[in-house]
């Protein structure tokens, strides 16, 4: 791939001359889809990104959101611990999300590992300390050997990198769908923590300040990664594109985390950006462009690990574990000392200026362009779209028991323990609710807030109905948080699509953007940042449009109701609109994926905010014994997941109901609540959402579902056996 002719013409017009080879390569990478969002940016204005909690919105390395100051509860807590005057600075979190899709196909271990590294450095460059990771992964059908190979490699890569740097991986999702066969997705989100006095942005501040590169030495790895990410995966990508994949060094990243913390402690950083796509050229030019400034960089000053590197290679290599800092001249020596303490390379590569973005190499000027034009000058694409088709209705005939077991043992709904067991999800001693539940909950003691985290999308949903599916993904993530008693605070999205030059693919992509945007707005959840990955297309065809959403919510206190049932207590289902109406739509369900059928997507609640808010309240009520979100696999799977050896559930479906519909439809914004006071739950949801009493807890560790003519009955061991397909296959 090289700079497109039309882009070259624009560049020549702006420069008044032909670009140098280094300039052409810079424009090619920074004007790529991956960096410039040429096809997606026109759509992204749909997102509501503002809110009083939003400190830094989209456009920086990561978003920054203020945690609520819960005056009453924190005053009590302060009083109790006698530390009323310690809480001075506002406490912020950062949120970022990134895709590393193409690299993870070519080299699953290194591709996924460096995806973690990149999003963690985005967190560092805001002055934050990374406290949590969430990974949403998407692969082809699980029974394909290639899918299993990719899953194993990706999980191992995340595990290797995330564990080593000491950042717990606490949430995420794993989905399988045949349309990821030629192009898996690896979406990684990171949450960081800081106080307001530590905030740094990527906006260069002052001409005369030095630009200091800290971290690994620069080699030839990852050359052209940004443009590699902006075209379809070729059939021979696994062998041909390997040089475009970076190799990570988590030990260097851990040193960088600690060095960054020390630099922020001593207030030595004026602005910062991590070196990601398009390497040094990308990071340094974006920093000065944001500040409306320029730079003068001497490329030979960059510390290198390979001999005879050219200017272009130094400028664009995507060697990992590197940060670019703007530092006042008087502080440069101290920055150098800190880098040295942590065994990190450090070079003063140039300075911020008021002029152009200029790079020289051994005395020769190789780049001399306006930084703003380089960063923002890429023309946007106005591509044709084709609206997705409405699915037909074609329902299969199934045997109830067979259907129940097929859905329960599908890798999509099955236990993901094999995955998260490989992630250190407890380092940092903040994890109050670990993976395996609806949402993780972290103790943010600095703000006396519990932070709930949920991340995921649902390829079955969005491939059936992109718009409604994306709305449902939003509701599902919000319901996950509410089920653990948290109120949504903010979200970041990772929008994955196929080749946007195909109108039907682009139409589906537009639909997921609009769906996410609409429901996030309905829930008053600002979308504070995100990432777009297009051209996830291969000879096997485009991926399903995949809107990964990572949403966080807050609650007072760090504990949450468990997912597992208790031996006693009534079980109610809240929010099931289809059950109330007696009319089920199975579109997007795992049931139809298993038995090859089609149907329309479920009707979604019109005013979901009240449901989410009420569920969060009910979850934290004293009488509440257990709460579990109902989503993938429908009521059938959620019921089964609540049962263990210590507690069972005896459930009766309402008389005359369509049993398959009731058990397997996947309308989001539903939850199972086990409670000592069902009347209180009914009252809380009065006028908000339907409440149906389903049954009660038992002490026999069995799930019994009385479905009229049929009775389903499974003990905890049988349920576990059905749900353990992934570990059974991969152990």
């Amino acid at each position: 791939m090289s700079l497109a002719d039309s882009d070259r013409e624009l560049v020549v017009e702006e420069l008044g001359r032909e670009p140098t080879p280094a300039e052409a390569a810079l424009f090619e990478n920074l004007w790529s889809e991956h960096c410039a969002y040429r096809s997606s940016r026109p759509l992204l204005s749909a997102f509501e990104s503002e809110g009083e909690q939003v400190v830094v919105g989209p456009g920086d390395d990561a978003a920054v959101v203020a945690l609520p100051t819960d005056d009453t509860s924190s005053a009590d807590a302060d009083h109790a611990s006698g530390r009323a005057d310690e809480k001075e600075e506002d406490v912020y979190i950062t949120m970022g999300i990134e895709s590393h899709n193409h690299p993870s196909y070519v080299d699953p271990f290194d591709g996924a590992a460096t995806g973690v590294g990149g999003i963690v450095r985005d967190t560092l460059s805001m002055g934050a300390y990374p406290i949590a990771l969430a990974d949403s992964l998407y692969f082809g059908a699980f029974d394909r050997e290639h899918s299993k190979y990719l899953l194993e490699g990706v999980v191992e890569g995340i595990s290797h990198y995330g564990n080593c740097i000491g950042v717990p991986t606490v949430a995420g999702s794993v989905d399988f769908h045949p349309d990821y066969e030629g192009n898996p997705l690896v979406n990684v989100a990171c949450v960081g923590l800081l106080t307001e006095d530590r905030l740094v942005t990527a906006e260069a501040q002052e001409p005369g300040n030095k630009l200091v590169l800290v971290g690994n030495a620069t080699g030839r790895d990852g050359l052209g990664g940004a443009s590699f990410a902006s075209e379809d995966l070729a059939e021979d990508a696994e062998t041909e594109d390997r040089p475009a994949v970076q190799v990570g060094d988590p030990y260097a990243e851990k040193l960088l985390i600690e060095a960054n913390e020390a630099l922020i402690d001593e207030d030595l950083v004026e602005s910062a950006r991590d070196l990601g796509a398009a390497g040094l050229g990308g990071a340094s030019s974006e920093m000065v462009a944001k500040g409306g400034l320029g730079a003068r960089i001497e490329l030979e000053r960059v510390h290198q690990r390979e001999p005879n590197m050219s200017a272009l290679e130094i400028l664009l290599a995507e060697s990992q574990e590197r940060m670019c800092y703007e530092v006042e001249p008087k502080n440069v020596e101290r920055v150098r000392e800190i880098a040295e303490k942590f065994d990190l390379g450090c070079s003063v590569i140039g300075e911020v200026t008021e002029g152009n973005y200029v790079c020289t190499f051994e005395g020769e000027t190789v780049v001399d362009v306006d930084a703003h034009f380089l960063g923002e000058g890429a023309p946007m694409n106005d591509l044709p779209t084709e609206a997705p088709a409405e699915p037909e209705t074609d329902l299969p005939e199934t045997d109830l028991e067979e259907a129940f077991e097929a859905v329960l043992s599908s890798p999509n709904t099955a236990s993901k323990r094999w995955v998260y067991r490989q992630y250190d999800h407890e380092v940092g001693v903040r994890t109050s609710v670990p993976p395996g539940d609806d949402a993780a909950v972290m103790a943010i003691r600095e703000a006396e807030q519990g932070l709930a985290i949920s991340s995921g999308a649902a390829p079955n949903w969005t491939s059936t109905a992109p718009f409604e599916g994306a709305k449902a993904v939003t509701l599902e993530n919000a319901t996950n948080l509410a089920a653990k008693g948290a109120t949504p605070l903010a979200a970041v999205d990772c929008l994955n699509g196929g080749n946007p030059e195909k109108p039907d693919v682009y139409g589906g992509f537009q639909a997921i953007v609009d769906g996410l945007a609409e429901t996030c707005a309905d829930l008053s959840v600002p979308v504070v940042g995100g990432n777009v990955s297009l051209y996830n297309d291969s000879v096997a065809g485009p991926i399903p449009p995949t809107p990964t959403l990572a949403m966080v919510g807050t609650k007072s206190g760090y504990d949450a109701p468990p997912l597992s049932a208790k031996p006693e207590g009534d079980l109610v289902l809240v929010g099931d609109l289809a059950l109330e109406r007696g009319e089920f739509r199975l579109g997007g369900s795992e049931y139809l994926a298993q038995f090859d059928g089609d149907d329309r997507f479920p009707v979604l609640p019109g005013e979901p905010a009240a449901f989410v808010e009420t569920l969060a309240d009910v979850a934290d009520a004293d009488e509440t014994l257990a709460v579990h979100d109902v989503s993938h696999g429908g009521l059938a799977v959620s019921l089964a997941e609540m049962v263990d050896e210590d507690a069972g559930l005896a459930v009766s479906l309402p008389d005359g109901v369509d049993v398959e519909g009731a058990l397997f439809h996947e309308q989001p914004a539903r939850a199972l609540v086990q409670t000592a006071d069902p009347d209180a739950v009914r009252e809380a949801f009065d006028g908000v959402a339907p409440v149906v009493e389903l049954g009660e807890g038992t002490d026999d560790g069995r799930l019994t579902i009385d479905a009229g003519d049929d009775v389903l009955e499974y003990d905890a061991a049988a349920i576990r056996e059905n749900r353990s397909v992934i570990e059974d296959e991969l152990e």
């Binding site: 564990n163 851990k254 067991r421 999800h425 109050s432 152990e731």
Partner: protein, 228 residues
């Protein structure tokens, strides 16, 4: 009394140990390995993590850092030393304790709660418990399989050096309850003196009551008991 938590490049449970000790009212500070052991050190934690990225072999590089000579000297003088996870690997690599912790039978990283049985209750690290007590403490490692030659293991057992063994909920040692294939289910052991101990499970992760259970508190309280 101040417990020094030795931070190597790549340590990542140092802050957790500090928070956990402070919760128990035990003074602790993180010490950068190049700065040397402070004079007033009354206890030493070798924390978990990936010192030197686990390059070469887990714990091998840190074991050869100059500060470890000071740690060994302090240990000989009776200063209590606790190695956790990577710190346990460092402890074995630097001969504070015998044997080695090597690649799990699964060949994968495993982060999960496990049960361990208290084998002795007369060391500072286990004084809070009774012999035979079953504790639930999480592990998080890829290299935690205890290995030592059979004769030496028999001697260690004769000398009553084994502190914790993996077991099931009822305290029975079984192959299923042994998460990593450790020889004779060894999860932790003491060195030449009872004041030196290493273990693979993370007591600091089950100490803070605001995020869960507190079975690990007694292990960390060993620093207080040892200096009483």
């Amino acid at each position: 009394m101040t417990v020094s938590i030795i931070r190597f490049g790549g340590s990542n449970c140092d802050r957790d140990a500090e928070r956990a000790l402070e919760h128990l009212g035990i003074d602790a500070e993180i010490v950068w390995h190049e700065d040397g052991l402070p004079e007033d050190t009354t206890g030493i934690v070798l924390p978990g993590g990936f010192s030197y990225g686990d390059y070469l072999r887990a714990g091998a590089m840190a074991a050869r850092a100059p500060i470890m000579e000071e740690v060994r000297e302090a240990a000989r003088e009776g200063v209590p030393v606790l190695g956790v996870c990577n710190g346990a690997q460092v402890g074995c690599e630097s001969s504070l304790t015998e044997g080695a912790f090597t690649t799990n039978e699964s060949a994968r990283f495993q982060c999960e709660p496990v049960y361990v049985r208290v084998e002795r209750d007369d060391t500072p690290w286990t004084r809070a418990y009774d012999e035979g007590d079953v504790l639930e403490i999480p592990i998080a490692h890829a290299e935690g399989r205890y290995e030592v030659d059979d004769d030496r293991l028999a001697e260690l057992e004769d000398e009553d050096r084994i502190l914790f063994r993996y077991c099931d909920e009822d305290g029975e040692t079984t192959p299923e309850a042994n998460p990593n294939g450790s020889k004779h289910d060894v999860a932790g052991l003491v060195g030449d003196r009872d004041t030196v101990a290493v273990l693979m499970p993370h007591p600091e992760r089950v100490t803070l009551p605001d995020v869960g259970e507190t079975d690990g508190q007694g292990v960390l309280r060993g620093f207080a008991y040892a200096t009483e």
